[in-house]
């Protein structure tokens, strides 16, 4: 999965990057299933592999007409970026290693009915706000992606 993630950011052809991203998301779904959260794994497959990957592939194919091979995929600031990323990984990894995780020895699988109950009772307000956010996102995306000339024809 880490290899697929590395391929995403280093491959030159952006469509290959998107395919590597799908591999990465799929293996993440496998890790969720290993962690005893099959409902999250199913949501990962449905949302990321099903929706977001297809959306990104469509956007790539809409925007890159044939010339998907870019001469220089990286910024001049690539070394600074690599240094910052290594610093992030080092600090968080060191925090994860240095902490004593004795209290967290065994995994507990999620009971789906308990998850559904908490989602619709304790977290009902975030759930509703989220549906409003999705509605706003749909309207905004339609407004932004519309061709300007269609607008004048409508008037």
């Amino acid at each position: 999965m880490i290899g697929a993630g590395l391929l995403v950011v280093t491959l030159r052809n952006i469509i290959h990057s998107a395919i590597a991203m799908m591999v990465c998301f799929g293996s993440l779904a496998g890790m969720y299933a290993l962690l005893g959260a099959p409902i999250v794994a199913a949501a990962q497959v449905l949302i990321y592999l099903g929706a977001i990957s297809v959306l990104i592939l469509f956007a790539i194919m809409l925007t890159q007409a044939g010339d998907a091979n870019l001469p220089a995929p990286f910024h001049p600031q690539v070394w600074v970026a690599a240094l910052a990323a290594v610093a992030i990984v080092g600090l968080t990894g060191w925090a994860a290693i240095a902490t004593d995780w004795k209290a967290a020895a065994t995994t507990v699988a999620i009971v789906v009915s308990a998850l559904a109950k908490s989602l619709f009772t304790d977290y009902a307000l975030p759930f509703e706000i989220l549906s409003l956010l999705l509605l706003v996102a749909i309207i905004g995306a339609i407004y932004l992606a519309r061709r300007p000339e269609e607008d004048e024809r409508a008037n």
Binding site: V9, L28, L34, Y123, A137
Partner: protein, 101 residues
Amino acid sequence: MGLQSYLIVSAMLFGIGAFGFMARRNAILMLISIELMLNSVNLSLVAFNAYLPSPVNAGAVFALLVMAVAAAEATVGLALVIAIIRTRQTAEVDEYADLKE
């Protein structure tokens, strides 16, 4: 496999996403990198929920909410990128410096 290994994998994935966001020049690939970072946070949330269970399954609920927010963000972000590409004819973020000066 303990909690530590999941957290380290999550940190590495976040680092990869941050690197891609800072280093790549293509706007769509920057969005993909943001998705990678959100996924790494999801992984650590689910791992914490599995190893330190809470009665309301807070980690898994948050992971589901983050997924929905990521979907909304990807939709609006890609619409923005397509609109910009339509006017600028390029996906390279270096070329978007017109607002400067």
